[in-house]
Every structure is written in C-alpha cells, then in structure tokens.
Subunit: 270 residues, 2 copies
Amino acid sequence: MADTPSPTSPTPDTQRPALAPRRFRMVCAYDGTAYFGWQTQPGYTSIQETIEQVLAGIVKAPKVDIHSSGRTDHGVHAKGQVFHVDLVTRMTERSLKMALNANGRLPPDIRILSCREVSQDFHARFSAHGKEYRYYVWNTRILPPDKRLYNAHIVRPLDVEAMRRAMQYFVGKHDFAAFSANPNRPIESTVREIYAFTVTKRGSQICFRVQGSGFLYKMVRSMVGFLLRVGAGQEKPESVADLLSPGTVRTARVPSAPAAGLFLWRVWYA
Amino acid sequence: MADTPSPTSPTPDTQRPALAPRRFRMVCAYDGTAYFGWQTQPGYTSIQETIEQVLAGIVKAPKVDIHSSGRTDHGVHAKGQVFHVDLVTRMTERSLKMALNANGRLPPDIRILSCREVSQDFHARFSAHGKEYRYYVWNTRILPPDKRLYNAHIVRPLDVEAMRRAMQYFVGKHDFAAFSANPNRPIESTVREIYAFTVTKRGSQICFRVQGSGFLYKMVRSMVGFLLRVGAGQEKPESVADLLSPGTVRTARVPSAPAAGLFLWRVWYA
C-alpha cells in the first residue's frame, strides 16, 4: 500500500512534487496583416494573445504569459521574432513546437520556427544584443497583387544611390529623437546605435536592411520614410545629419513608411 | 436654330450618332485568395464580377460583360490573365487602365497590367494560341507565413529528378482524360498538347512551368498532383505513360494539388 497517503503527509494533491516552471525561448514568424500588432490590446486580435491562448490550451494552464524581444506594430511582419515563456509541462522542446504548429492550433499566419529550453536568466527583451529589420519596397507603377501584403508601393522611381549615401549617416551611435513617434510613453534615452544599414535593388524590389542595438518606437519606418523622400529627390542625403543632431525633434519631413513593407528579421543574443 | 430638332428628325436622343462599341484586350493579375474563382456565380464574389462592376461604373453602363481566356478556380492566382470587353466609351486605353487601377476602384488584389484596343475579331478565349501556368511548392517542414498564400506546402522532401523524368511523358499531344476533373459538362475532346514542362528548385521553393495549347478543367493541378506523388516516391515516373494511354479514366492516383500554388502565368496570341 505504498501509494496510500500516510496520515502525517499533507493532502494527496501535494504528494507529487509540483513541477517547477521551465523557461522556453521560441522563435516565431508571422504575417502581421490580420493582426493589430504584437501586443495584446482589449478588443483587438494580437499575435501575442493568439500564441498565449494556444499555448495555454496545450499545457492546460488557465493563462500563459509570453515575453517578446519587443512589439511590432499593426500590419508589421516577422521572420524571426523571439519570445520566452515559463511553462509547467513535461513536454519536450520538439513536441511543444509541433503542437503549436499542428492543424487547428496556431493559424497558418503564425509559425513557431524553433523552441529551446533556456535558463531562468534568459529574457527575450533584456538579453537581446541586437536586432535586424528588413524593409521591402516595390518600385513600379503597378503593385503586383501577390506582392501587396509584403511590400510598400512607391510609383516614383527611387534613386538607390542617393538613399545609400543618406543611410550612412544613420550608422553609429546617434540621438534618434527625430526618427521616433513616441506614443505617450516616457523614454529614458533616444540614443541608439546602428551597426549596419544597406540597400539593394533586385528587379522592381528594393530591400533595406538595418541592424542595431535596439530601436525606438517606429524608428525603422521613420528612417525608411525619410530615405524614400531622399530617393524621390525631395530631400538631400546630407539632411540626415541635421536630423540626427542633438535636440532635434520629429518633423513632418520624417514620415513613417507603411507597415506592410516591414519585417522584424532576427534578434540576436550573446 | 441649327440645334433645334427638325420635325422630320427622330427624337433628340438619337441626334448624336451612337458611339460604336470598341473592343479592348486587357491583361490582369490577381490574388485569387479572396475570390470564388474567375467566373461569376450567384452568391459568391468572383474576379469577373468585380471587374465588370468597376468597369460599368467607369463607362457609366448599366452592365458590362467581360470574356476571359478561361476560368480559374477558387483560390487560383493569375499573373497574366487576358480578357476582352466591348465598351461604348471615348476613353483612351491608358485612361481606362488608370481608372481601373485607381484608388477606390478595383481592389488591390486585382490589377490591370495593360489595356489595348483590338479589332472585333479578337476573342480572348478563341484567339488564344497557348497558355503558361506555374505551380509553386514550398518544400520544408514549416511553411513561412508570408509564403502560405502563393505556394502549396509539402513537408516530405521531393525528388526533383524523379519528377523531371515523369513530366517528360506529358510533353506532346495526349489524351488527358485521366488528368481532368470534369464538373458535369460535356467536353468534345480530352486531347491536348503540352509544349513544355519544366521543374526547378531554388532554396526551399520548387517551381513547375507548363506550356500548352490549352488545358482541361483542373488539368494543371492534376498533373502536378501526380508529379508530387512521384516526387514523394509513391509513384514511378513511368506511370505517367500508363495514365496517358487512350481510354484511361481519372483514378484516386491522380489527386488535385492545392489551388494556392497555381498561377495562370500568361496567355499568348498570334
């Protein structure tokens, strides 16, 4: 009768040692078209909430909280968003990933690319060392229907060389206050470091790639928005330097490029 | 008083000579995801009906009939579908095309790529000399969200060389009865000619290209469906020859590949 609780032991429920939560680091890709951005907001469908609800169903928890490397806006896509989550489960990394991607679980516009158990000191946001974003522009008169969800459409022919000259000013450590739309939240510092910024053109598609230590709210779309004005001949490449000088605030010269062209490409860690 | 109708003339409405209808040949591209196929069907949104309604609004006609090179099924895309239409209008080719593509007219998942006035003996279907279709497959474990609308997803690694051997049997004039799903309509002949059939792989994407004189209902998806079975090792390449022998009817060995991977690529004329 070894399985019968002894009178001195607590209630049977606590007989089995409670499982400690395990931390998982997951990489996900999504098509942001149908979502109101990453972050959960009452009344809107978010990517975060969609993943949390599916995960809760899989591990049979009433609620699950996931923590991403950062938000993405309404309509912005990701090829390699990273989040961590603490789960009380005996499932393996592989079975968790497969369960999330299974039919009837996550919708096909969200996919889990990898799942790895990590130590409790890993944090998707605070442990991140840098991020890469890519921004795609379709630069012809007519935007092909199958490209419309993943490219901004600019009819006017863009001067790639002028944009290339302009983007060099962004590289390095600068105050990006003029390239951020602050949605009413205090920011400690608007200084960020850009490691690399390149632009390539292949056929009708222009691809901007930017890597940096971190990015302010709407910073990538603001930088690209200004570069597109440079490419259209409405601004000089050197004007970037003025806008990066300390104390400069956001002006109408810095529009946000449309969400559809933007992909959070990857997040890297030590 | 030259403008006053004389008593002997008919009603003022017929004073101005009625404009003769002009025939236009248009090339269009569409993302078929949101449509119930090309052809108008009561209760469903079709590409044909969408274009007809916008065109009627532009030329201020109560109704406009467009005639395509052929139908495409629910969820199938086009890069170069061709249709003709007779319009009573003074608009130029260019202004018609621009009006159709303008904001608030055609939705962004349908674009008019070209518009050209043609003689009355041009017919988008009967004048066509051949067509090219392309079929895209994403062949990895996980289908990236931004590829899901324009590729079929096959997890099992496909043997491209085996599919290449199999597709050679399709080239030439054959009875394709086994590769057509007949939706209860009589077909005069199930003989068609395939001019070329190729397959290429780039990264995770496999692209089938097929050119022919014409195609039976679901013929491309049926051929690709069988090729995918060959690629997965479930059928031998030589089996195509058996299925093309006269009198062979469709069997469960010939499944239709999913609609999402299929594009009507172009239609050519003399």
